[in-house]
């Protein structure tokens, strides 16, 4: 059993302590917006926020996540409005297949929290998610659009 705080809600989940947070979120908490891509913290599809920091949830165990504030893509927007990154993604038509975009959006949201006006170099350093469709150009443009708003 583990108690996890996800998107402001407490979940008591029947999981072993070494279960990766990703699978506890997807299979036990039932929040499937966070995606499995590699399982070895390479691709970033599973990126969530832990106490506001972008983390790859496939590489974090449930026991490490207990007591932390976890935010997934489902918890990024407020009840009545989308997060500015989601809005920019829609305005810029960023996603192609979209599978990596939950993680991409979470990584970008964390970057903008830390640096509201990131330079290209900041983006290059912070955004290391894999996108096989190749949406990088639109990702970069959307970040700059938010920063200049």
């Amino acid at each position: 059993m583990a108690n996890l705080t996800i998107n402001g809600k407490t979940f008591t989940l029947d999981v072993e302590p070494d279960t990766p947070l990703l699978w506890a979120i997807r299979e036990n908490a039932g929040l499937t917006g966070t995606k499995y891509g590699c399982g070895i913290a390479q691709c970033g599809a599973c990126t969530v926020h832990m106490d506001g920091v972008a983390m790859r949830s496939c590489g974090i165990s449930v026991s490490e996540a207990e007591g932390k504030k976890i935010t997934t893509i489902e918890g990024l927007s407020s009840a009545d409005s989308l997060h500015k990154v989601q809005e920019a993604w829609i305005a810029q038509d960023v996603p192609q297949c979209g599978y990596c975009q939950s993680g991409m959006i979470m990584a970008v949201a964390a970057l903008l929290n830390e640096k509201p006006k990131p330079t290209d170099a900041d983006i290059d350093e912070a955004i290391t998610n894999i996108c096989r469709c190749g949406t990088f150009q639109q990702v970069r443009e959307a970040i700059h659009t938010i920063a200049s708003a």
Partner: protein, 728 residues
């Protein structure tokens, strides 16, 4: 029509849909006494021809048969229908008919397969007619109600107007009446100059859910009582499953069942996938690997190299004059050998499918590029007839050709069959996905060019040795043993025609098929053919002492469309003006999938091994462009996929198995490595070419040619990581 489809359809069953997850549509047939049939969508709204449903609130539902997998065809196809329908674009939504419904209705939606950059180009004519047919019926219904001739009525933005009286009505109001009319036998399509929506970069129709986590991919499908399966197939292709020791994992948490899947694989079924995967990793498995376990990359390379020898048999794909004789007597000749490795598709979402099987029914939910092939796989694996099966397409997390295959669909059904009544979601681990790919085929190529005393290219011999995709996947499409697709980009004619005139030309393929299963990988054979041909063109230009662009131009007089895109790229990159200090350029062109494309790169190289790509320019002439914003994204994406393969890709074989296991050993480009791609769209009209794939062909050769310009060194094999060359 697929040979697996049963001809014994239950035509009397008039409700053939499913209301389960995955946004399937249900269709009912209304057969009132004495009147024509009205076909209804799941919510009761009438169908106006097979492609359009109009709801009372004026919502326009457009049916899409091809698969959306990120390439944007869903939006483009809707634009094609809406253009002729004259509907309000803001009221358009889409839905997928299921393959089962299609079969029951004599394939009214045509081909479902989505590969070969065919989504739009192969369906544009009949989907536009679908839109036009519905428009004619809606106008007729309004005219009938007003008792005026239909010729006095016009339609725009979902509003029908009687021009003489000024009366108006909406599509939603006349849809019921329109649905009862007999569709016109023939409809006239608009002249392209009158298009309003085609050619416009409207926003995609499927974006919002991709930004909120709400989009359901195959991996996200949930059914009541569902269990999860993890699978391991024999890592040596062609090998078999010998035994497994189920007792060793019997007590592990969540494990429900361990099942054999065909002759080659074993799956663990558990409450969660994490439990299934954990147990599978602990399961002792013995494989019968067979002779293929002796095969390695080195043994394959040796076998392919032998195929480069003229004494070995080869299929001739393109020929004029006598290349061998001309080379033998030439003043000067140039020769080079290139190679291209296996590549994994590495879609972001690993392969998966969810199946439920009972004696009466088998249904599958999955991302697929070919709904009908998936349907045929369900029939075959379930042993049930067509009317008892269906496939519900959900969003795939990437396709790139991999999801045109149905191995994972078949596996899911084979597992579900062993647990009747329990829905089973089968998900491959990334490691399984890397080990069980349908890989970009492996080839080598020996090219010989010959010049006369005035440095004119008089002969070219292009001898390809290596794997045929058709031999493995579609042997019925071979032509007397020859794989015509092997010549993509260097073919005599057709939608992937060679763009140079050489007086003595011989292009041939020594087919050699290693045991590693090949597949259609974004760009398919254009990838290696364009690298070989375009890099060798640069070598020939160098041997002739000429500028690479000028050298090409002289050979392209009879190929004006190839030349036009090359010129467009040259102009945009500024070929005639010097590059910035320390920056070097490369250029390439090819034709594939009915489109003419060219690309140019500006790069700098540090220490001979660190490449920074500063600029990419790419041009395309696909005839017509439906949505320029999506075309631009496909071009940029194709460069990311193509350059990832060039720099980081390459799957190697050891002991008969693929060595790469995950993104740490099969890496992919990140945002810091990719410059903006500047697209130059030069649609010349009169034909329909593809978009998703063609430009990938010029990605690698443009960069490789720039690398030579920067360093004076030719790179003749892929990936660059094997030569310790990487991004700066």
């Amino acid at each position: 029509m697929n040979k697996h489809l049963s001809p014994k359809m239950n035509r009397r069953a008039f409700v053939i849909g499913s209301a389960a997850v995955g946004a399937g549509l249900a269709i009912g047939l209304d057969i009132p006494f004495g009147g024509p049939a009205v076909v209804r969508a799941a919510d009761g709204s009438p169908e106006i021809g097979a492609w359009v449903v109009i709801r009372p609130d004026d919502t326009v539902v457009i049916r899409i048969a091809r698969s959306e997998m990120g390439q944007g065809s869903l939006t483009g196809l809707a634009q094609l229908v809406a253009e002729e329908l004259e509907c309000d674009w803001t009221k358009v939504t889409t839905e997928y008919p299921t393959p089962g419904q299609s079969v029951a209705r004599k394939r009214v939606w045509g081909d479902f397969s989505t590969g070969g950059s065919r989504g739009i180009r192969s369906s544009q004519d009949y989907v536009r007619k679908g839109g036009a047919t519905a428009r004619v019926m809606l106008i007729q219904a309004a005219a009938d109600a007003w008792k005026v001739p239909a010729s006095e009525c016009t339609a725009a933005n979902s509003v029908i107007t009687h021009t003489r009286s000024g009366r108006t009505t909406t599509y939603g109001k006349v849809a019921e009446a329109a649905a009862k009319l007999t569709p016109p036998a023939d409809v006239k399509l608009k002249d392209p100059k009158d298009w309003k929506l085609i050619g416009k970069g409207v926003k995609r129709l499927d974006t919002v859910d991709k930004t909120t986590g709400a989009m359901i991919y195959g991996v996200d499908v949930k059914l009541p009582g569902m269990l999860n399966a993890a699978i391991k197939d024999c890592p040596v292709f062609g090998g078999k499953l010998k035994s497994f020791d189920e007792a060793k994992i019997a007590g592990m948490k969540g494990v429900k069942k361990v099942v054999k899947v065909g002759d080659t694989a074993v799956a663990v079924v558990a409450d969660t996938w994490w439990h299934a995967k954990t147990a599978l990793e602990a399961l002792p498995i013995v494989w019968d690997e067979g002779d293929n376990a002796k095969v390695s990359s080195a043994s394959i390379a040796k076998w392919l190299a032998e195929g480069l020898d003229d004494a070995q048999p080869a299929y001739v794909g393109n020929k004029n004059g006598d290349a061998k004789a001309a080379i033998a007597s030439a003043a000067k000749k140039v020769e080079a050998v290139y190679s291209y490795p296996y590549q994994n598709h590495a879609t972001m979402e690993p392969m998966n499918a969810t199946a439920i099987y009972t004696a009466d029914k088998c249904e599958v939910w999955c991302g697929t590029q070919n709904g009908e092939a998936a349907f045929a796989a369900v029939l075959e694996a379930s042993g049930l007839p067509a009317e008892k099966c269906d496939v519900h397409k959900v969003m795939p997390g990437g396709g790139f050709g991999r999801r045109g295959q149905t191995d994972y669909v078949r596996q899911a059904v084979m597992i579900a069959r062993q647990m009747p009544g329990t829905p089973i979601k089968l998900l491959w681990s990334r490691e399984e996905d890397m080990a069980q790919g349908r890989y970009h085929p492996i080839t080598q190529c020996k090219m010989t060019g010959a010049f006369d005393a005035n440095n004119n290219l008089i002969a070219l011999h292009y001898r390809l040795s290596g794997q045929s995709i058709l031999f493995s996947l579609r042997p019925e499409a071979l032509q007397n043993g020859m794989d015509p697709v092997a010549f993509q980009g260097v073919a005599q004619s057709g939608d992937a025609a060679f763009g140079y005139s050489v007086p003595n030309l011989l292009i041939e393929h020594a087919m050699r098929n290693p045991h590693v299963p090949p597949g259609f990988w974004r760009g398919v054979n254009v990838n290696h053919n364009a690298i070989y041909m375009e890099c060798f063109m640069d070598e020939l230009a160098q041997a002739a002492g000429q500028d690479p662009l000028e050298f090409r131009r002289k050979l392209m007089g009879n190929h004006p469309k190839h030349l036009a895109v090359l010129n467009a790229v040259a102009e945009k990159i500024g070929w005639d003006t010097p590059a910035p200090q320390g920056v070097y350029r490369g250029i390439a062109q090819v034709m594939g999938y009915g489109s003419y494309v060219a690309g140019a790169a500006e790069i700098s190289v540090t220490d001979g091994s660190k490449i920074k790509v500063h600029r990419i320019v790419a041009s395309t002439d696909p005839g017509y462009i439906v949505n320029p914003a999506q075309v631009e994204r496909q071009i940029a994406g194709s460069f990311v996929y193509g350059l990832s393969a060039l720099f980081y890709g390459g799957c190697t074989v050891k002991d008969g198995k693929i060595e790469q296991t995950n993104f740490d050993t099969y890496n992919s480009m990140r945002i810091n490595e990719m410059p903006k791609v500047e697209s130059v769209m030069v649609p010349s009209g009169g034909f329909w070419g593809g978009v998703g794939e063609p430009t990938i062909g010029v990605a690698a050769p443009a960069v490789l040619n720039a690398y030579f310009a920067a360093t004076g060194k030719r790179i003749r094999s892929v990936p660059l990581r094997d030569q310790n060359i990487t991004f700066a």
